[in-house]
Subunit: 221 residues, 2 copies
């Protein structure tokens, strides 16, 4: 398939949405947990999270103004805090279901069968079934005028990783936590490690880069 | 592992970098191809691309000012155009190698063995070995003051997908193109489809959401 700008603009809307959502490659799948001043909890799946920096530890994500994720943005801005919870293969169906347009007074936790977990005094709910849970403090939003979205930026202030999947060098073996990847809007994938490569330096032959670390799944692949 | 903000801040820098880069989940792996006014070509791997919108078709990515990706940003701002090329399992080693700090007059195409491809009159080089190639027009940057990075935004103006992997509904079967996913800074993964789920609606039982589409790999999984 070959399309220029004009042909892309003329595509049927639903077709174009699935196509364009496929084009960045594999995406993360995370549940964002929030609450509001009235104590109503909200949970929504996002595939737009991206690593923004390690020091300070910043994560960005895209919020669309007219989507179900609008409640999430309002709660984040109201309370200043939210949770990020990796979607794994045990809960991808319930996680996908959080994208349904529930009435504002319905908690997606109750509606989908995912369980709230409250950790220490962190002021937003986590997903109990998630093995990698992060607590974020809201640091601000960047409005994107080109398409009326907002890029929400938060700083990690709590890390809770269940099980023993953090390697000696800090790498988290998210594959062994059965964290899923997403393609386009609707397809969920498990992964199989190809390689962990050492730091790239000029002059080395790409085909002989040393493997850096054995995955805990190595023996199965 | 459980860390609060203070413990996270006190981690060894290299450890923290691998850890925090793992926490958003799986990431895309894309090669960004650029050129400058002098005709020098540049190629760099990015794992920070994210879908920003389907109409207009916008993609965002993070550029760090003091990294090897700085050449990429300068070329994008100088020429107004760049290419995005999916990394697949045949070229992940060469792609990783583009992250090495080559001298400014070295083309990463030559240094890593990836081949330039020029498509129609598009003014930036593509990677011949990539099966999913996009041409982008630069639309602007958002500076992130919190960590001195920039979010670069481009609009897709050329789509070139090799092979027959676009489904009837617009979904691109990136798994069958052997597009890889990345975790943290250094680990590359292939995928195996779990499911394609239909649009989420209130009231449906998550465990009985219909599968929407059979992957072309379905028979192998």
């Amino acid at each position: 398939m070959k399309l220029d700008a004009q042909q892309l603009a003329e595509l049927d809307k639903a077709y174009r949405t699935l196509l364009v959502n496929s084009l960045t490659g594999f995406k993360s799948a995370n549940l964002i947990g929030t609450t509001n001043a009235g104590g109503h909890n909200n949970l929504a799946i996002f595939s737009s999270l991206f690593h923004l920096g390690a020091d300070p530890a910043l994560i960005g994500m895209v919020s669309r103004p007219h989507s179900v994720t609008r409640d999430t943005l309002e709660n984040i801005q109201e309370t200043g805090y939210y949770s990020i919870n990796h979607v794994n293969s045990d809960i991808y169906r319930q996680s996908h279901q959080t994208a349904a347009r529930y009435p504002a007074d319905t908690s997606e936790f109750n509606a989908t069968g995912l369980d709230e977990e409250w950790i220490a005094s962190f002021p937003a709910p986590f997903v109990k079934q998630s093995r990698i849970q992060l607590g974020l403090k809201y640091r601000g939003s960047l409005p994107v005028e080109l398409n009326d979205t907002e890029i929400v930026i938060g700083e990690i202030c709590l890390v809770n990783i269940k099980d023993d999947i953090v390697c000696d060098d800090g790498y988290v073996d998210i594959e062994s936590a059965d964290t899923v990847a997403v393609s386009s809007l609707d397809t969920y994938h498990l992964t199989r490690t190809l390689d962990s490569l050492s730091y790239a330096k000029p002059g080395q032959d790409p085909q002989s880069i040393a493997a850096k670390r054995l995955s805990s799944h190595e023996e199965n692949s």
